[in-house]
């Protein structure tokens, strides 16, 4: 659905994106993660036909974005990180303007506008002037506009930036709904928890380079490097540490008060065997669980905290 091949974008002497390649299948929700200035917006703008790549190719459903610009524009819905809205018109007028701009026939416009207003939960704001909307509502309005022509691919650049927690949750719920509608979504953000819930693929970009990219679970395993266990005991923590350290394929054992964290070099470790070993040796286990790695951990592990 969306393929980027060896993309490079230079602004004068500054290289914003270097040799970036990725591929999104239909229905994929790809979280594009990176610090500010990493090259996320540039990449998305190239995909949206707004910038020409210095090198490389970008295809949307097989159409080259630099050659088949009109076809691509009909298939994508782009929501920029910073955008303005025409303040002097009402919400429905704003959507009607863009519906007309997308050549949606007059007789179908009303139904489509009602549908996107309902989807974005703005039905009650239909006759309100755009300038009276909150930032979160404007964000939803922009998303509503993006959906008017029913695009197959959504390019969303920081859709939740600058929003309060409630508005952020609302946008997240909306994106989840779009995912269930089968849209292919490329969504960028530097706020990781907002992506963790609904992305099936992620890519981490730093200084214009895609450091990791692929399936979320796969990347988590790759970054973690093997299974991790978190065990809380009632007593005899030192004994537990000694026992666990002797297990095969153990990478590290760390003690923190009554809690022991064991990191293995592989996933092929049976939890039950480890638990059995502890109990057999008379240790009282209060809790036993696998260590959960989140996007934040991955991000911190793979990036160096530099911007281009």
């Amino acid at each position: 659905m969306l393929t980027i091949e060896h993309l490079r974008k230079d602004y004068g002497n500054l290289t914003a994106v270097k040799d970036l390649s990725l591929h999104l299948e239909k229905g994929d929700v790809y979280g594009f993660i990176g610090p500010n200035g990493a090259g996320k917006t540039t990449t998305i703008k190239v995909c949206a036909t707004l910038l020409e790549p210095t090198q490389g190719k970008v295809y949307v459903e097989g159409f080259d974005v630099t050659k088949k610009t009109n076809e691509v524009r009909g298939m994508i819905g782009y929501m920029p990180d910073f955008f303005g809205v025409y303040d002097d018109i009402m919400v429905w007028e704003y959507l009607d303007f863009f519906a007309a701009a997308y050549k949606i026939p007059r007789e179908r416009r009303q139904t489509i506008i009602d549908d996107v207003l309902e989807l974005t939960d703005l039905t009650g704001k239909r006759d309100i002037y755009v300038e009276a909307l909150s930032r979160g509502m404007k964000q939803r309005l922009c998303l509503a506009k993006t959906l008017l022509h029913d695009p197959k691919v959504l390019l969303l650049d920081e859709p939740a930036s600058g929003l309060d927690p409630r508005a952020r949750v609302e946008i997240k719920e909306l994106l989840k709904e779009l995912k269930t509608m089968g849209k292919t979504i490329l969504v960028s953000s530097h706020i990781l928890p907002e992506l963790a819930d609904f992305c099936n693929k992620i890519g981490i970009i730093e200084q214009g380079e895609l450091i990791v990219s692929g399936d979320v679970g796969e990347i988590m395993r790759k970054v973690q490097g093997g299974k991790g266990l978190q065990i809380t005991l009632l007593a005899d923590v030192e004994k537990a540490v000694a026992l666990l350290s002797q297990l095969p394929k153990v990478k590290s054992v760390e003690q923190d008060n009554l809690c022991v964290c064991v990191q293995f070099s592989t996933d092929e470790v049976e939890n039950s065997e480890v638990l059995q070993l502890l109990i057999k040796n008379g240790l009282q286990v209060q809790s036993f669980s696998e260590t959960q790695v989140d996007l934040e951990d991955i991000f911190m592990k793979v990036t160096r905290g530099v911007v281009s």
Partner: protein
């Protein structure tokens, strides 16, 4: 059809009008009509007192405002058409829609030039009254100075030609301003450059062409009014033809340059 153009439909209606209530709109229309007929009403009231040296001259000067006012304000109206959208971060969304470059250009241009129509309309009764007056009092002195001399019988022709030329030059200046707006990221710079180019080049080029026509190329051509108006007509026809063609053909490339910068 321009009336189906969403940009024209949205931008040709001013913000204050969009928001005004029925009563406010009625009030505004009344004020506008009053302003439009006030000069004429004054002339008709003091018909007998008007002499050829005072009020008549002043009044007749009013009839030339469309000729000079419209070309002068056109760049100001159009220069922000695209650059202001860039500043407001609305431009990308419009470019990505299915509107063609021609639709964007004509929608922007005509909607932005609409105020010229509203500025010109109040001068129509002024002009008509002046034509009637000129039958009695002869052509105003400054008219003969501007256009190089003519009979009172030609007065109506020259006034209408002057207006048409003024509107044509205004359109040309608007086209230049739109081109500059397409190439600028800030409205302020677009405005300054548009005025510099449109007005500066207009004065320079029409002056040069006028001098060439009058002194070298066809020195015996009569009446001189044709020669003085020809450069403006040339400007009004050539500039839109050239710049509209460039804009329509290279719209995305010109826009991409600004974005890349």
């Amino acid at each position: 059809m321009i009336s189906d153009n969403p940009i024209f439909r949205r931008e040709s209606i001013p913000r204050f009008w969009r928001r005004a209530s029925f009563f406010a709109r009625t009030g505004l229309v009344s004020i506008y009509i009053a302003l439009a007929i006030l000069p004429t009403a004054l002339v008709l009231t003091f018909w007998e007192e008007i002499d050829s040296t005072g009020a008549y001259l002043l009044f007749s000067f009013l009839s030339h405002w469309p000729t000079f006012l419209c070309p002068a304000i056109a760049p100001a109206l159009v220069a922000g058409a695209i650059s202001s959208e860039r500043e407001q971060k609305c431009w990308d969304l419009m470019v990505l829609s299915r509107l063609t470059p021609a639709e964007i250009i004509w929608g922007k241009l005509l909607s932005r030039l609409m105020p010229l129509v509203w500025v010109t309309i109040p001068f129509i009764p002024v002009g008509i009254t002046l034509l009637i007056l000129s039958e009695r009092m002869g052509p105003p002195g400054h008219m003969t100075g501007t256009w190089g001399g003519f009979d009172s019988g030609d007065y109506a022709l020259w006034m209408i030609l002057g207006w048409m030329t003024g509107l044509l030059v205004a359109f040309a200046n608007g086209v230049i301003a739109l081109y500059i707006s397409l190439r600028c990221s800030s409205t302020r710079s677009a405005l300054l450059i548009a005025y510099g180019v449109a007005i500066g080049a207009y004065i320079l080029i029409t002056m040069v062409i006028g001098m060439l026509l009058m002194f070298f190329m066809i020195p015996t051509f009569e009446p001189m009014t044709i020669l003085s108006i020809t450069p403006s007509l040339l400007w009004g026809v050539t500039i839109p033809a050239v710049f509209l063609t460039i804009m329509q053909r290279r719209f995305y490339r010109l826009d991409a340059r600004v974005r890349a910068a």
